[in-house]
Symmetry: C2
Subunit: 343 residues, 2 copies
């Protein structure tokens, strides 16, 4: 996995899948029940270690990704976060500058220390050739949840705040950005080998706001992390950024970019690859649910388009709960067989 | 408005706004209350005429758009559709090929005839220099609602059906496509001067599915409508299509393309304009809510980027209910003043 970030073409490509630890696995569901809730899994080092390793044991992925959530950060800052069963995350929303006072950057250690303990355990349990990926939400996406108090289809609450009071919203983004830098540094010191920044809602912004709320904070994060830890690759995932992904890669200088399912392969292997980034993606998670010939054909198309590029095989979005685990095994086998046939 | 489709640069650009008739207007809310529900507004020619004309009276837009909804089509085909107050549309979902039998293409006249009566009334009430735009959902987007029974953030139900049973899903798309062609033809015969195809969920599909479920049905619609009514321009709105909007324009041969808020102006005036289409867009509706200097500056940026292009000023998505009507008046005035200053 780590080799993909050198200049050597890597055949077969390394493979891991977003949300590879999750509800589609019976062993995950059993442990979540035992833990009594999602956040307890994240905050109990034994549990976080176990669920992170479960998919590696089953599928021999090239990388483990720290089992976590983008809302661990606002929770560590003091915002109340809970997961309503079957309903997604809920937070006490922060809707104006005054409300920012509840966020306490010096109190994050309580929660973050548990995460770092999990990382140290995972890294020592993981085979040396397997990469461990650190996990963080990107500031814009984290802000959309902090402001709306939940996931929202159009991120209207954060977008409106940003228009009505850009200076106040900038303060929120700055708090998240500096906390993200500290959290990624902490994860790296604890043992992760690379990190991914999840910007799930990057696609909802017009160009000037994309630059201010997505690109600028990411530049700050990448620059600072590169300064402190020049050896650690950073994967950015500006989901649904479309055309703007090229600008994102050039400006932020991320080492790799996650490509969502809607990104055309010709664009990925052309304009996007020309920015110099490693590409990652982008099988549709619903095609993984469907499986069969269709899935294998699409895998072949992706691999053929990415031939000769520095490429990490992944989905274009996270695994969904109804995914049959045997399709995941088939995906891994097919990616590995196809490419070695061609090599 | 109609002149924009000739080769003459049109200064100032024509302006209309998606969902310009709607809940942000007190006169609309009053009429909706009187009508006793959203679908009654669509299906009662007097009401549909009145709400279509309300924003023209107030803001002197260059075009009226038929007040309708993309779910009028499945409803006309026999699918049950209702609007739960404050919750969005609900339908009895169609989830497999057997369930397609409830759809009856020969029974659409009951509902469509009311729509055509409204169009004839609107056209005769509207000043001759104002264009009247016909309204239809595009097959993929309409299918996502028909299959899920409601709006859904990821359109998973339709995407899964399309993967698991492409031949069955093709039948649904074919029914919607041929009904759309009939409905657009009917609207044109009743008096609309151009039409817009709303494909709100075009951005959720990988490239091969985008081609099959978005591009192919749109080609069929555009080709047939152009054959029957060569003088009627067609605006396509493949929201969030990103990079793929170029391919969409080249393949479908729509006359104009609606650009969503996230589309960069340089991409619109460059690659997208080079396909030969008229551009339409793309102010953020939430910036219209915010108003003020920020809004005026963004309008100026859009107009400067579109200078010399065949361009229709619009939003990148529909007006939201909390929009102050005075901001809309200011938007119209600013678009008209800015461009005539430069001319």
């Amino acid at each position: 996995m780590l080799k993909v970030f050198s200049n050597i073409h890597f055949t077969p490509p390394p493979i891991w899948l977003m949300r590879q630890a999750g509800r589609y696995l019976p062993e995950y569901r059993a442990l979540r029940k035992q833990a009594g809730g999602f956040l307890n899994l994240c905050y109990t080092p034994e549990f976080a270690t176990e669920v992170t390793l479960q998919p590696i044991r089953r599928f021999d992925f090239d990388a483990a990704i720290l089992f976590s959530d983008i809302l661990v950060l606002p929770n560590a800052l003091g915002q109340k976060v809970w997961f309503a069963e079957g309903e997604g995350p809920r937070l006490d929303p922060i809707t104006n500058t005054q409300a920012l006072s509840i966020l306490n950057q010096s109190a994050t250690g309580d929660i973050f220390s548990k995460v770092y303990e999990a990382i140290t355990r995972i890294r020592s349990a993981l085979a040396p050739e397997k990469a461990l990926i650190g996990f963080c939400g990107a500031p814009w996406t984290v802000a959309t949840y902090m402001v709306a108090g939940r996931g929202s289809p159009d991120q209207a609450a954060a977008r409106s705040w940003a228009y009505n009071d850009p200076a106040g919203f900038q303060k929120l983004i700055d708090i998240i950005t500096s906390t993200t830098i500290e959290h990624l540094s902490g994860q790296i010191k604890a043992g992760v080998n690379l990190v991914q920044l999840f910007d799930s809602w990057a696609g909802s912004l017009p160009e000037p706001e994309f630059n201010r709320w997505v690109v600028e904070p990411t530049i700050r994060i990448v620059t600072t992390i590169k300064n402190r830890h020049p050896e650690v690759p950073i994967i950015g995932f500006p989901r649904a950024a479309g055309v703007s992904a090229v600008h994102y890669c050039r400006q932020t200088k991320v080492d790799a970019v996650g490509c969502d399912t809607s990104m055309p392969l010709g664009f990925m292997s052309g304009e996007l690859a020309n920015t110099g980034v490693v590409l990652q993606g982008n099988l549709d998670p619903l095609l993984l649910v469907a499986g069969g010939n269709q899935m294998r054909q699409r895998i072949d198309e992706i691999l053929e388009a990415m031939q000769g590029k520095r490429f990490i095989f992944n989905l274009g979005h996270g695994i969904v709960p109804q995914t049959p685990p045997e399709h995941v095994a088939e995906l891994v086998a097919h990616v590995r067989s196809h490419t070695s046939n061609e090599a």
